[in-house]
Chain length 328, copies 2
């Protein structure tokens, strides 16, 4: 089969179109004919050597898929040949930037009927991330104020929608015009252009000096460090990046705060409750088909343009999601 | 009234017996005639200058009280003159090492009927800490394995009992013979003498290499750092110390872990849901009177021996709690 492979660890140029053997489903797997593959920052990170232990080149990246079921392991229930499904493939197996990919059936679900494969492939990884972070872990409640960093980004634009759907007041940061516009369209109550104003001071004003009870950070670095300063007493801070910050205990202890490290790969990498992701994706498909949640696809690339797609992802100059068209 | 006061920030020698004005209850307060005051590590920390902002000497330490209600602010409901009550006074007001103390009535409860004042004064701060940490925040579940550091300590010996009562398997660390014996009496399933063996390796063995799903650290320093290594995927780590550790994100992100900073002073210091502590202490009194929870008082000192009590607390050479007898 045709696949884009990482030939050695490095920048996007290491990605090459190659013939690779079609994968064979393991005992819990579906073999999916890939129609579209979503792109995420984890792709260029893995390409550059993150999560490297035990991984050998060449391998196929791509951790979002939408496509059709072509083979089903005997023990698997709930799917039939030809079903249109979506999932986030394991970070430690070959991914979806290819004609076929195997995924653990427990992590997959039927894709939203109201979306095509391109749009469906934009959903799994970012929606699982935002859902696990906000709903299962921080457990946002109706009426709470949530600060979502990079609201125009892949995770951010889904997080805004989930938080609004759950009755929260949403404050968000963004900088590019297109991202600010998207945040507003999605219903964010306050959009802070962090190039033009200090977000910590603005959060202070917006929360009567109390700080924000929930902060969701998909950016890391300074944004994480400064988020420590705008968290309220009893606050919940979620990071999906894991910035090394020596200030964490000093700034969070007196606030009686909680820090969630959200690593969406955990269920598939460690095999701990993989079925939870299938359950979430079923709930997500329902929400999408009811018109309550919608992915924003900012750019579409063909499979052989994957290196360029990685470059754009890495530049951060994209609103919503990048999706790779594999078979149309 | 007679009171032990911190005359300047420093070691236990700065504590002096002095005449101080009897406090006058604020609008939410009870005036309590102190019969006994519990001692905690926070006492010597505050004496040495912790939580110093806005605090002026001389002040009265002592953050656990058991005694009788002598005055009640007009708006307060639920108490009458002469009631025997217990509470953890605010860290930013004068404390209980005196003949009288004022506490926010919302944070107080009737003391357990089955205990005397000495035993009751051993409960509030450590039990609030363990209850908030294990039940409200980490939300331990029946059948889960919990590692409790310093199981023979003030917080630890209560945490063991709460975890056992909720059906958990309890692993605990201790070193002195008396502490090990207490941990066993309280029903700990595994007691690890950390002077004799590496607790990280032992936890690995005891959990089939998966690590512990819940770790409760009341020790800090190296114990906290090494706890990062024995936490399971999806694990919950609770610290009541806030050790500055630059390794936190690197070690916890990939584990999809949660880090709770438990600061028991938050409700009284910031006035955020002070009623939660009264509710917990009512539930605690019921549990104690049903024979499900029991404080262990390791040493009793008279009020004028408070400096010596601080020295013993600071040395760590005490099993369970130190209590100060004020009026008997």
């Amino acid at each position: 089969m045709r696949a884009m492979v990482v030939t050695q660890f490095g920048p996007p140029e290491v990605l090459k179109l190659q013939e690779m053997p079609q994968p064979r489903p393991g005992p819990e797997d579906l073999l999916i004919e890939v129609h579209a593959a979503g792109l995420n920052p984890v792709d260029f990170k893995i390409c550059r050597g993150a999560f490297r232990e035990g991984r050998t080149v060449p391998f196929i990246p791509g951790y979002d898929v939408s496509g059709l079921v072509r083979e089903i392991a005997p023990a698997v229930r709930g799917f039939k040949i030809g079903d249109a499904v979506y999932a986030s493939p394991s970070l430690v197996r070959n991914g979806a930037d290819a004609e076929y990919v195997c995924v653990d059936a427990r992590t997959a679900a039927h894709k939203p009927a109201s979306l095509d494969h391109i749009q469906s492939a934009a959903l799994p990884l970012v929606t699982l991330t935002a859902w696990e972070a906000l709903l299962l872990r921080a457990q946002i409640q109706n009426g709470e104020t949530v600060l979502i960093h990079a609201g125009g980004g892949g995770v951010g634009h889904i997080a805004i929608q989930l938080a609004k759907f759950h009755g929260c007041r949403v404050l968000t940061t963004a900088s590019r015009d297109e991202s600010i516009k998207l945040c507003r369209q999605l219903g964010a109550d306050v959009v802070i252009n962090y190039y033009e104003e200090d977000f910590v001071r603005r959060i202070e004003q917006e929360t009567g000096g109390r700080g924000c009870p929930i902060v969701f950070d998909a950016v890391g670095g300074q944004t994480f460090d400064r988020s420590l300063d705008c968290l309220a007493v009893n606050g919940r801070l979620i990071t999906i990046v894991g910035t090394p910050s020596p200030e964490i205990p000093r700034k969070l202890f007196r606030k009686n705060a909680t820090l969630y490290f959200e690593f969406v790969g955990a269920p598939t990498v460690y095999g701990v409750h993989p079925e939870s992701q299938g359950e979430i994706l079923r709930a997500v498909a329902k929400l999408v088909d009811e018109g309550q949640l919608k992915p924003h696809v900012g750019r579409v690339f063909n499979l052989d343009e994957l290196a360029e797609a990685h470059r754009v992802q890495e530049s951060g100059h994209v609103t919503g999601k990048i999706v790779v068209r594999v078979r149309v």
